[in-house]
Each structure stands twice: as structure tokens, then as C-alpha cells.
């Protein structure tokens, strides 16, 4: 892992994810600038803008629903829209309505795999709580492309299935309780100058 060289953080969450991701946002200090993109499984009937409004209470960055061709900007949190897959291209987002992956749309695998292709070693992937196995293949791709793989400790996650599947699928760089993930990300992204750290 290299400190300070990360352009994007992708986060996947399912059951219990809203609570977990809110807590993660609470931990990130204001000078943490790397953009964050979240794929959270949710109902397609969810109230328009509801998730973004809730998350906005936990951060001073701009929380936005990611749109097709929307540029990826620092100090922004992007949320995958319900019933669309969110994909990453270099510098911008893309959407698709292709079939569900792991029964999910948005699928965490789709977000992570496309982000790994676009950002390679400049990407951090974080898998949080969830009751299915979406995100495991995606995190493995993040790791294979040279990025950093972080997983919430299944023992303290609200649902262990998703983080455990991610741990089984790849050799994670860090398996951490939720309340330590923010500091770990901050250390990776904000401790200057860029240097190699041992893992």
C-alpha cells in the first residue's frame, strides 16, 4: 500500500448499511478529500432523495445521487441510484440497467469491478455489513488491480455474511471494526508525503 495516492474510495453495504456508512462518514475529518462512492442495496420504492438527505446529516461534503456521465469530484459522496447499476469510468460515473448481479441492482460487484478497471492501484474498496455475498468478487478485483481492500470485522457487523464472503474471496489489507475504518482511511489518504507502508 502507498500512502496518499488514492483517487477514489468505493463502499458496498447491504443490511445495516445505512447505519454503518453514516457512522463511517462521522469519522472522516473535513480535510479528507478523496471522493467516496456508495453502493447500498435498497428498495426501488425508496423515497426520492431520502438516502442522500439522511447521509448529508453526517458530513459537510456534498452528498449526491450519482448520475450518468457525472464527473467525480473531491469532497463529494456519491450514492448509486435505486434500480440502476453504478459504474465508474476514469473521472466520471456511468449507469446501466443490465440484469441484477447477485440479485442486486445496484450491485456492489459492478461498482467495484468497474472502479478497479478505471483506477487500479489508486482505489480503495470497503465492504461493510450485509446479509448476502455481493461485493466479494468486486473486492477481489480491487485487490488484483493493485488497490486496497478493507473489510468490516464480521464479528461486529450487523450482518456478517457479506464481510465474511469478502474475506474469503481475497486477502484483505485490513479487517477492522467499524469505528477504526475512518482513521485507517485517513491514514492512507492524508498522511503525507507518499511512502510505502508495510502491511
Amino acid at each position: 500500500m502507498t500512502v496518499g495516492a488514492y483517487e477514489l474510495i468505493v463502499v458496498g453495504a447491504s443490511w445495516g448499511g445505512l447505519h454503518a456508512f453514516s457512522e463511517l462518514l462521522d469519522q472522516l475529518p473535513d480535510d479528507f478529500g478523496a471522493p467516496v462512492a456508495l453502493a447500498q442495496h435498497r428498495s426501488i420504492d425508496a423515497r426520492r432523495g431520502g438516502l442522500e438527505d439522511l447521509l448529508q446529516l453526517h458530513t459537510r461534503w456534498h452528498v449526491r445521487e450519482a448520475g450518468d456521465k457525472m464527473p467525480i469530484e473531491r469532497r463529494h459522496v456519491y450514492v448509486a441510484p435505486p434500480d440502476y447499476h453504478l459504474l465508474v469510468e476514469r473521472g466520471s460515473f456511468a449507469l446501466s440497467v443490465d440484469e441484477r448481479v447477485q440479485f442486486a441492482r445496484p450491485s456492489i460487484d459492478v461498482l467495484f469491478e468497474s472502479a478497479a478497471d478505471a483506477y487500479g492501484s489508486q482505489l480503495i474498496g470497503v465492504v461493510l455489513t450485509g446479509a448476502n455475498e455481493d461485493g466479494a468478487a468486486g473486492l477481489a478485483r480491487v485487490k488484483a488491480a493493485g488497490g486496497v481492500a478493507i473489510v468490516q470485522d464480521p464479528h461486529e457487523a450487523e450482518r456478517a455474511t457479506m464481510p465474511q464472503a469478502a474475506i474469503d474471496a481475497t486477502s484483505a489489507d485490513a479487517i477492522l471494526p467499524l469505528n477504526e475504518i475512518g482513521a485507517f482511511l485517513y491514514g492512507l489518504c492524508c498522511a503525507a508525503p507518499a511512502r510505502e507502508v508495510t502491511t
Partner: protein, 286 residues
Amino acid sequence: MAAPEARNGSPAPAREDVEPLETELLLEAINRRYGYDFREYAAASLKRRLWRRIHAEGLESVSGLQEKVLHDPACMERLLRDLSINVTSMFRDPSFYLAFREEVVPLLHTYPFTRIWNAGCSTGEEVYSIAILLQEEGLYERTRIYATDINEAVLETARAGVFPLDKMQDYTQNYIRAGGKRAFSEYYVAAYDGARFQRSLTDNVVFAQHNLVSDRSFNEFNVIICRNVMIYFDRSLQDRVHRLFYESLAMFGILALGHKEAINFTPHASAYEAIDPHEKLYRKVA
């Protein structure tokens, strides 16, 4: 034995690094051999669809797919299906159809005859949804719907009007929330191969092959519906298709896009006013 090295002394790049080049060559080959131009499709979703086909064919690389596609037209047919099918459902986004009923139908009642273009209709779920809506609103008899797609095979599916029975429960829910006025089951009969929709729903529908990438406008329309098709295109192709739609719409004609497709920042944005910005219903005013 040492691994072969490239001329500059560094090892040959990993397979991953040559994939963009392989993809470029594949798309060029498809265009020259078959005349389908996918070179301006959005890279990330195109890549997923290509790899789905690569795995399904038992291949291991984009180059492998290129070789097979060039020599085997049936493989091209399968790839075309992967690249052109847009997964959709009847009355997808019920709120859109509700808005169409409430805000577009009254406008259409002022016209003696309405031409509607459903561009990129895929397997036809949207066409049948629109036809049902227009029947219930007393407009169908004076409407012609042009349903087009790049892929002749999916048009065959659309013409047949047979959809999986196991979807009918979801579609019924959508139909009700879309403001449906009858029992959804009145529109189809359960057959051995699925739910067969009433033939009368296609009496005023023309199914035709049309390629948004390369074909020109073929009529003037009062309504163009193109939902979740252009998200698969890159920016410059999106701009060209927007130009095609602008040129194909009559003055005060309606353009309907997918929920996450905005008209802002497209070349003709200022020529439209939003009828319903959330449902992405626009009206050509200049």
C-alpha cells in the same frame, strides 16, 4: 530462461494493459465485417457485456472473441443480442406512466393524429405498456407507434408479444401504480409459452430495424420515448442522438427519457422545456 523483454527493457505489459487495444480492434472488426458500430458505446458497461459473452463462449480474452466473431456470424448474432438488449419491464417506473397519463395525454387529445417513436424498444415491454395506456385513454385509434431497435432478433420477440408468466405479478403491480384503469389480466391470456398479449395492441404499431448510431431520421413525431438507451452511449454519441431526436420531433413534441437521464448539457437543451423534470418529460419549444 529469462522472460522475453520489450524493446525498452521493461517486461511486456500484463494482459490487463492490452485489453483496451484488444477492445478497440474488436469493435473496429465488427464495424468493418458486419456494419454495427459500437465504438462510441460507454466503456464500462460495454466491457461487462463483452466479458459476459467471452465467458459464455468459453473464451478467455477479447482477442479470442474477435477471432470467433469474425469467422462465425452466429456468434455475432449472440453478441449483438448481449450488446443491444436493454433489460426492461412493463410499466417500469410506474410514476413515469402516471405522469404520461396526466401531463402528456391531454396534449395528445388536441391532435387529430399522433406519431410516437419508441427508440431502442428492445423486446417490446415499453411498446405494449404505451399501447395499453393509449387504449385506456381513448387515443390508440388515432396513434401510430414506431418501435425500432438495432437488433432484428429482439424485434421478433417484441412482435410476438409473449412475455414470461412469472413476471405478470410484478407487471400487474406496476400497472396499478401507473394508473391502470382495468384489470391487467384482461390484456393477456396465459399460454404454454407465456403470457400472450392481445393482438389488437399491435394493430397500430410498426416494428422496424433502425440504428440510432448510423441511421437518419425517418419521420416527424409528436412523441419520442427513449428511456435508458443512451446511458449505454458515450458523450459524443449521446449528443448525436439528441440531435437526431431534435430533428425528428415536431414543434411542441414530447421527448421522454429515463429517470436518470437529464437533458441539461446536451446540445439542444435550450430548445426544450421540462413538463415534468422528475419524470424526464420534455417539450420542444424552439
